[in-house]
Amino acid sequence: MGTNKTAVFLCNCGPNIAECMDLDAIGAWAAGIEDVAAVFRHNLLCSPDGKAYFRQSLAQRQPENVVVAACSPKMHERTFQEPAEATGINMGRVQMANIREHCGWVTPDRAEATAKAKALVHAAICRCRRSEALTRRSTKVNTDVVVIGGGIAGIEAAMTAAKAGRRVTIVEKEIALGGRVIKTEELAPPMQCAPCPLAARLSALKETPNITVIANAEVTDVLGFFGNFTVRIRRRARAVKDNCIGCEICFEVCPVEVKTRFHLGPGTHKAIYTLFPGSVPAAAAIDKGACRHFTDGTCDACVKVCPLASIDFDEQDEQTEVQAGAIIVATGSADGDVSHLPELGWGVVDNVYTLPEFERIASSSGPYHGEIQLRDGRRPASVAVVHCAGSRRDDGIRYCSRVCCMAALKVGDLVRKKVPEAKVYNIHDTLVLGTPREALMHARQRCSGTSFLRCPDLTSIRVSRNGDRIRVVGEGLRPLDVDMVVLATGIKPPPAAGELAERLYVDLDQDGFFAPGDCLLHATSTSLDGIYVAGCAAAPSDVATAVTQGQAAAGDAVIRLAPGREIELEVMTCVIDEHRCAGCRLCISVCPYKAISFDRQKKVSVINEAVCRGCGTCAATCASGAAKAKHFTDGQIMAEIGGLMHV
């Protein structure tokens, strides 16, 4: 077993080690060990002089292994591995014995420290008997970017990366891009048309050849690390081929009306539909739950009229794999829910809407073509806006979503644009007016006919029918009768955020948003390097913030994924000896990186060394001893234990 070829270096570390133990005695003792070819001593081995001495000594002696008895390997392992490699000694054959932090500095008694140091040095010498060479590996970073979510933050992220020449894949769960903003009529405070700049952006995106949009799809699995991710995507069948241009001829012949999700309530579309005219992708989709071909097999009207033969009832879900260097999560948010609070009247009293529903009603592309009207077609003479509906309370959204105040203030402008004489009341508690522009918006509302009624406890608000009007009562308010009520609901994480976070191995915060890695310096980072977050996925945010974050995330990713940049791959990966593997697959179940797959032909597990990070959990789990953790093999650790125990 012994090779008689280990060189031992003892470092005084100035007074740090030399004063704590008897290094002379340790040196004399070590020189007598069978494997030890020579013992070297230096006052400061990590100094330039010390490193030169280290290199020269190794060049002269040409030992097989090196033990450096000095400080923590966490501090200086690389310091000694590199010069050793320069003299032809592999990094795997350099072993440190930490006789400073783990011995001299924590053992006041000199004799005890000397004895413990001997044990640590002996353990390192014994471990060297089982040393194996390690191979450095590196790979070029993948410069591509995957964006999950095609709302405004995701679109901006994709456009930014694409402008830098990077290939971008956008994975969108809906059948078309646009997210929340495309459903919004105007943005506050500037009160600008929301879809107008976005429509221009979408058409630019469509013409950008290095952006691929995979719509009606979800990320099912993510492997790898910064610079080297594999993203698995499932694209759900839409029964319409990609060559569809959204000409809408089939809409006229489709006999089935479906309540539209896009308008959040009022309005319908056909069983074959697009979200809105000019969507990206342009292709329509078929709602399989409604289409008669799928429900009773009696209809193929769309097939007959389609000029491009795009209908494909047999289309199957598709699984694809995309390689990328970085992933930007821009999955947006979900609307706050008030269905569990019947006292607010939603779903109980006619003409009570949530804010997102009102946005659709007010939208020129909405179900009423922008006319503000009640269910019976009348125009409302008065509208009450209830702030913080379902928010800032334990039985709803606990936090303040920060952006709903501005959206609520918008209602006044939108109503008066269509019904100039209408009265608008804002029932609020705290108003979040975060910037001077927002404060100005509030001031302008007050001057132009919106009344602000403060209610110190918004949970006391009750909305009920009062004849053909709606009565709103609450603490500190005179009973108010209006024609329409808009509930300013908040913003919560999308329901699938938890699942996605698990697939990405990143953390969510206590409210379920993607938690920032370091909120001050890396505003768009997550807890995992190479995975970014932008927009409402990170926290309720306004459009300006979402745009800024989308651009910032892509900018950072693009800068760090410079073409040609090498990233070092893990040296100490795990490997499976296929001759010993019994095919039990326990290793697959414990691998935290999903780096192990099963070779069905050979019936053995195989480790993908580009993904493996070398934790060694598989090696600890493998019952046949087939999985090996490089540089931490069973043999090496056992030799170290033996050395520690039998000095």
Binding site: H102, V106, A123, T617, A620, I641
Partner: protein, 143 residues
């Protein structure tokens, strides 16, 4: 018996508890020299066989120290260590080894004091239990 100096092997993960022990060193927080460390990359790497080997080679106590739950450098290695630990403790009892001779705990990179405390506690527990006598093995000389 009072002269008995226990041998304690502590398997420490590279990222948290090894660094925690380094931190203890940096702050000169002394603890019993009987506690000797073996570095592994992750507490999830600690195969029960390694623990048994340590006892077989003469350890009177073994510690497995990892990152705090939720902080594992390798995501979930410490969770695997935790699951294995429960089974291993029951196995030890079957071998006639007091389960108190094996301890699993967590030390973060900045927790030098915690490392010192755990090392001291373990040395004390093992000293009180006395030398480990394995059935079928001759008692090791107590120097």
């Amino acid at each position: 018996m009072s002269d008995f100096r226990p041998n304690v092997v502590a398997f420490v993960c590279n990222w948290c508890s090894y660094a925690g022990a380094d931190h203890a060193g940096g702050q000169r927080l002394s603890y019993a020299p009987d506690v000797k460390l073996v570095r592994v990359m992750c507490s999830g790497r600690v195969d029960p066989q390694l623990v048994l080997q340590a006892f077989r080679e003469g350890a009177d106590g073994v510690m497995v120290l990892g990152c705090h739950p939720g902080d594992c450098h390798y995501r979930t290695g410490n969770v695997k260590a935790m699951r294995r630990f429960r089974i291993l403790q029951r196995t030890l009892a079957q071998f006639g080894i007091d389960p108190a001779r094996l301890r699993l705990d967590w030390v973060a990179a900045g927790e030098g004091e915690r490392f010192q405390k755990l090392a001291g506690e373990m040395a004390g527990v093992v000293k009180a239990l006395g030398p480990l006598v394995l059935a079928g093995k001759v008692e090791r000389d107590v120097a």
